[in-house]
């Protein structure tokens, strides 16, 4: 299939699955989705209003918030930047382009720029905090929030989905192998803790 999409971690699917520690943490790569980087002046009603009516979604103005309109997400990346995330086959870019034509905006298809890893389970927060300096305590960071940070030495766009907690980790395609390898390594200790594993010498 010519248009079959091969995700950056397609070759690691089984390694990701095998890293799972039941009742502690699971990791998988999500299927491709449409991602549009949108830049514009949110204080300008022509921009915010047009986006709102075109997408039926209000762009979040509070830093690090995610707006969710029936599965179409808008992640706040900066005062004038959002990442719109929708289903794989989506005319998001075209709709925005026609609605915002004539305005000074930037609409950039970045669907293949980052892949999305889903890390979930009671230990997910702790695992992230081994390499991510953000305060992820539920008092501070919860579902519906996002933040740009690092995971060890890779760029990370983090989005918390639910209170389990489940996180979506947006990482650049070229860094995905590193990020996944780092996560699998960080997950190991819980597997050993479960088995009561001792070192073989």
């Amino acid at each position: 299939m010519a248009d079959a999409k091969r995700s950056p971690l397609a070759f690691m699917t089984s390694a990701l699955a095998e890293a799972e520690v039941p009742d502690a943490v699971a990791l998988r790569e999500l299927s491709p989705r449409t991602q549009i980087d949108l830049r514009g002046e949110v204080a300008d009603p022509a921009f915010a209003g047009t986006v709102e009516s075109a997408l039926r979604l209000t762009l979040p103005r509070t830093p690090n918030r995610v707006a969710d309109a029936g599965g179409l997400l808008a992640l706040w990346l900066g005062p004038d930047e959002w990442l719109l995330v929708g289903p794989e086959a989506s005319d998001l870019e075209a709709r925005l382009r026609s609605a915002l034509s004539g305005q000074h905006v930037a609409i950039t298809d970045v669907s293949a720029n980052r892949t999305v890893l889903e890390l979930g389970g009671p230990k997910a927060r702790e695992i992230l905090n081994k390499g991510c300096p953000l305060d992820l305590d539920p008092r501070v960071f919860g579902p519906g929030q996002c933040a740009q940070s690092i995971l060890a030495r890779a760029q990370l766009l983090l989005h918390q989905r639910d209170i389990e907690p489940t996180y979506h980790l947006y990482v650049r395609g070229s860094f995905a192998f590193y990020a996944a390898s780092w996560l699998i390594d960080a997950m190991k200790e819980y597997r050993f803790a479960k088995r009561g594993g001792r070192r073989e010498r």
């Binding site: 010519a2 248009d3 079959a4 999409k5 091969r6 995700s7 950056p8 070759f11 491709p32 980087d37 830049r39 004038d80 000074h104 905006v105 930037a106 609409i107 950039t108 298809d109 970045v110 669907s111 293949a112 720029n113 980052r114 702790e126 905090n129 081994k130 390499g131 991510c132 300096p133 953000l134 305060d135 305590d137 008092r139 501070v140 060890a152 030495r153 890779a154 650049r172 395609g173 070229s174 860094f175 192998f177 590193y178 990020a179 390898s181 780092w182 390594d185 960080a186 190991k188 200790e189 050993f192 803790a193 009561g196 594993g197 001792r198 070192r199 010498r201």
Partner: protein
């Protein structure tokens, strides 16, 4: 001799759980709950080390982090660790340790001969003796001194342990789990603030673990147990024991090492990180770090069996052992009387308490007298005896700063001393807090805080238990309140309390002979063998600044960083200079508080995780085809694709030939790509690039070069106009990030009026670059819908359409000089398109090639690589690319071209080089000279340039190079020489374009 000094049933050790261990090759038995130090003392092992300089016998002096003597090499082989304090090693079954500073053994030490020449080993001895000749210092003196003095040995095999890191945030971080810290943590916990309590011991309680104090009428440890229970039960509290807060940085950011499995035998450790580095960020920090007792500086105060009074107390009460059978206590304050009473109650004979004060009349002194202990007031210890263990002390009457009268010798095997207490202010000072001198307590105490810090308990100079508990609660409440949480007020707590006589500072205890005369040594810094006489000498020689004193004498250096010695040294220096202690000041406190292993600082950033390995979407294919990879920044790029039995040279020759004769394919996905949009994009590009962009129309591409303000080449690449207000900029692989930062910094700070947005799309696109005479034919088969002929799709233009069934962007650019197309597709289609190119190209002889072939082909064409042929000191003009510098507009770096320096005619300029011997490939970086007889190493004045790129060319059938040569363009035709090891290579300067100078091949 197992446990001869053990006190049955006493202490916090488990008398039922016996643990075998090995020290200096001998087997011993200890108990669960012991440290290595306590287990040794329980076995009567006092002598554990030799001193650093004089190789004097040394014993365990403390029971904590301040230990200067009992340093051991812990474990063997890959688990071996040097210089670990025996006082902080939790005993486990099978533990193996050796003294670090004794050769051939602690009992018989050749180096002790140094003691006979002690007069030679004065302050600055090494500087004075071994300075000349310089060569001997490097070759002979230093290695020999290091072997003699050498602390432990670093292991030579890889560490099998895992280390990791953890980031955490809290409202309240309490450092220290003693009475003050526990009280502060309780107050914080009850406020619902997020509390971290960090303590270096295996058990919370701090000083209470070692004392027989009472709180609320019950043993203090019962109060501790209740406090810990409450803290453990609260979800808002995290307790970290066996965790040392070693560094306090800006913004209330602290480093903590948690030792998770160090207390378990290596063979039995669970497979978790042995140590974890916590990065803690706290809104408020409460430092309850306690205090460290000071030794007294008297003659021969270093014999084994001499220890801090608090240590003796700790060994009795916490570890259930008698550190001796007959003790003398030497103290200038009331605290050590409590130790004397504890020793007495443990069955140790207390021969005398020697007290320089004329009237020690506190409650504890009265109690001691009542219990029959002889208290010698206005007295001092003036000498000691005993080679491998103290045997007796000489006591004389003290009058002012002199001793007089008869000398009385008192036999003992333990001398417990106390010169007062030094608050542990390391973290406080690292946080840039300032100290003041408290003359009553004779110590430096926190004064001005610099961050959101609270100091409480002994760390703040509070040494009275009930008060400390109250202050701890108050500090916890205050900290919680400042973090936005309210904590209920706690009722006052009663605790053991004694009325005390004030301490009498006695910085140097006099002897009959003046300091430095006779045999007695008044040690100040035990680890570095620095005496009071050394400090006086240093002061006489002009080292009056405390920082100079430290470096000249080395006092306060080493693994203990002067925890015992700094205040004494400071006071002695002040005394000799006739100035106050505050006038003298202190040396700087630097992290870490206690040594931190490199392993835990590295964490998991080792091996394949040491730096991100960035790969393209085609990486799997490259791997399967046996590509040899090259690291380009963080990227793994195929360097070349060797076939079976093919060496690198043969592979390159084949790859180069294929591109020149048929068609080759390169994975160019790593190039940086920036999507630039906005009505001012053209103006923006005009300012960023040296060349002009106003005339670039839709669908056209242009090569651009950008400079920093200094006019030196920073990056280059092709930028394409994708639409009226939209451009795609490409950057070099290594500069993708820096270029975006550069663009953003100008947009955000200097040119905010420009309406331009930049978005990185490097990872969005895979770039499959096909090059060679058959490239058009091949692409035609893959993209039948796109007109590819030269007229429809001219050089430096862009088209969109389907390639191998996938929507693609096509760019007609060329880095090889051949007809070339760069196919860009969203990265998830990259592998598919690559494979289609390979399959369809098979009949055309398609050959995958790597970065090395790319380098050779572009160099044949004289195309530079920024970062290889440039080094940040090269202008476009130097590269012979003056044509790319616009005269009509302003741009970054333009002003610098008006500088005299950038207009010099003798600047290094890019030229070609053809070695006389066509088989000779010059090493890149080779220096060039004009003199055929010059031999390496040459004088700098002889060097006229250097080789930047050098290869064997398949198409030229000879070697060639690019070089930067002073005034090179005017020297074309001249011969230069490259003096190499064993030979000199002659090479002729040429134009930097070696192949197809008229660009006749790029259109196919």
């Amino acid at each position: 001799m197992n446990g001869a000094y053990r006190l049955p049933g006493k202490g916090r050790v488990d008398h039922e759980r016996r643990l075998n261990f090995n020290f200096n090759g001998r087997r011993y038995e200890g108990l669960a709950g012991d440290t290595l130090a306590s287990a040794l003392l329980a076995n009567g092992v006092v002598l554990v080390a030799r001193s650093f300089k004089y190789h004097r016998p040394r014993g365990i002096m403390t029971a904590g982090a301040e230990e200067p003597n009992a340093l051991v090499q812990l474990e063997t082989g890959p688990w071996s660790e040097p210089n670990i304090r025996a006082t902080q090693i939790e005993l486990y079954s099978g533990l193996e340790a050796r003294s670090v500073n004794a050769w051939p053994s602690v009992g018989f030490d050749i180096g002790a001969l140094n003691g006979l020449f002690a007069r030679l080993f004065v302050a600055g001895f090494y500087y004075k003796t071994f300075m000349r000749p310089k060569l001997l210092w490097e070759r002979l003196y230093e290695p020999a001194i290091r072997r003699m003095a050498g602390m432990g040995k670093a292991p030579t095999t890889p560490d099998p342990e895992i280390y990791d890191k953890m980031h955490a945030h809290c409202d309240l971080l309490v450092v220290g789990g003693g009475p003050a810290g526990l009280a502060a943590a309780l107050a914080g916990a009850r406020s619902d603030a997020r509390v971290f309590l960090v303590d270096e011991q295996n058990e919370l309680g701090g000083s209470l673990l070692s004392r027989r104090a009472e709180i609320e009428g019950a043993p203090a440890m019962e109060w501790v147990a209740k406090a810990v229970e409450e803290l453990e039960a609260r979800a808002n509290v995290t307790l970290l024991t066996r965790a040392s807060a070693f560094g306090y940085y800006d913004h209330n950011y602290l480093g903590v090492v948690e030792r998770r499995t160090d207390h378990i035998a290596p063979s039995r450790r669970p497979l978790i990180a042995r140590q974890r580095l916590w990065h803690l960020r706290a809104k408020e920090v409460v430092l309850a770090t306690g205090a460290i007792e000071r030794p007294l500086v008297f003659a021969d105060n270093d014999r084994p069996g001499i220890m801090l009074a608090s240590a003796a107390q700790s060994y009795v009460n916490r570890y259930g052992l008698a550190p001796g059978k007959r003790a003398v206590v030497f103290t200038n304050n009331d605290g050590a009387y409590e130790a004397a009473l504890d020793l007495l109650d443990a069955g140790v004979e207390v021969a005398a308490i020697v007290d320089p004060r004329s009237k020690p009349e506190g409650e504890l002194a009265a109690l001691a007298r009542k219990r029959g202990i002889e208290v010698l007031a206005s007295a001092a210890i003036t000498a000691t005896r005993g080679r491998k263990r103290i045997a007796a002390v000489e006591v004389m009457a003290l009058e002012g700063d002199r001793v007089r009268g008869p000398r009385a010798w008192i036999g003992c095997d333990l001398l417990a001393m106390s010169g007062g207490w030094t608050p542990t202010v390391h973290l406080f000072c690292q946080a840039k807090g300032r100290l003041r001198y408290d003359a009553t307590k004779a110590c430096l105490v926190p004064d001005v805080i610099a961050q959101a810090t609270h100091v409480t308990g002994a760390a703040n100079g509070g040494f009275e238990l009930a008060a400390v508990l109250g202050e701890g609660f108050a500090a916890g409440r205050a900290a919680a309140s400042r973090a936005g949480f309210e904590s209920p007020e706690a009722p006052p707590i009663t605790a053991t309390s004694y009325r005390e006589s004030p301490l009498h500072p006695l910085w140097i205890v006099p002897s009959v002979k003046p300091l430095g005369r006779g045999h007695g040594k008044h040690f100040v810094d035990f680890q570095n063998d620095i005496t009071a006489a050394d400090i006086l000498l240093a002061a006489r020689e002009g080292y009056e600044s405390v920082e100079h004193l430290k470096r000249y004498t080395t006092t306060g250096m080493g693994t203990d960083q002067g925890k015992l010695s700094n205040v004494n040294a400071l006071a002695i220096l002040s005394g000799t200079l006739g100035q106050s202690i505050p006038e003298t000041g202190t040396t700087t406190f630097r992290a870490p508080y206690t040594p931190v292993s490199y392993g835990v600082l590295a964490g998991r950033d080792i091996g394949d995780l040491s730096d991100p390995i960035r790969i393209t979407a085609i990486h799997e294919w490259h791997l399967e085809r046996g590509a040899v990879f090259e690291d380009v920044g963080q990227w793994k790029r195929p360097w070349y694709f060797p076939r079976k039995n093919e060496d690198m040279a043969a592979a390159l020759k084949r790859e180069c030939k294929a591109v020149r004769e048929s068609v080759g394919v390169l994975d160019a996905s790593t190039l940086g790509k920036i999507d630039i949009q906005g009505p001012d994009a053209v103006e923006f590009l005009n300012r960023i690039y040296t060349n002009g962009w106003s005339t670039l129309t839709y669908g056209q591409s242009r090569y651009g070069m950008m400079c920093h303000e200094d006019g030196m080449v920073f990056d280059d690449g092709v930028t394409t106009r994708l639409g009226e207000n939209r451009f795609l900029m490409t950057t070099t692989t290594g500069n993708a990030g820096p270029v975006l930062d550069w663009l953003e910094s100008w947009l955000q700070t200097e040119w905010p009026e420009l309406r331009v947005y930049c978005t990185s799309v490097t990872d969005q696109w895979v770039t499959v670059s096909i090059a060679g005479p058959k490239a058009r034919k091949l692409l035609g088969e893959l993209a039948p819908e796109i007109a590819l002929d030269g007229e429809s799709f001219p050089f430096m233009t862009f088209r969109q359409g389907k390639v191998a069934g996938v929507e693609a962007r096509l760019f007609r650019v060329s880095f090889t000089g051949e007809l070339s197309f760069e196919i860009n597709v969203p990265s998830w289609h990259g592998l598919h398109v690559w494979e289609a190119v390979m399959a369809t190209g098979e009949k055309h002889g398609i050959t995958p090639y790597g970065t090395e072939t790319m380098h050779v082909l572009r160099a044949e064409k004289g195309f530079v690589i920024v970062g290889q042929d440039t080094d940040g000191t090269v202008t476009p003009e130097d590269l012979g690319m003056g044509w790319i510098v616009s005269k009509k507009k302003d741009f970054l770096g333009r002003r610098s071209f008006a500088r005299v320096d950038t207009a010099r005619s003798d600047r290094k300029q890019l030229v070609g080089l053809l070695p006389d011997d066509p088989k000779e490939v010059l090493p890149e970086g080779t220096q060039l000279v004009g003199d055929a007889n010059a031999r390496s190493p040459m004088a700098r004045s002889l060097m006229v340039g250097h080789v930047t790129s050098s290869y064997a060319s398949a198409v030229l059938e000879r070697s060639f190079a690019l070089a930067l040569v002073k005034g090179g363009r005017a020297r074309i035709g001249e011969t230069l020489y490259a003096p190499l090891v064993g030979k000199t290579v002659a090479a002729r300067i040429t134009e930097p374009v070696f192949f197809d100078p008229k660009n006749e091949r790029r259109d196919g």
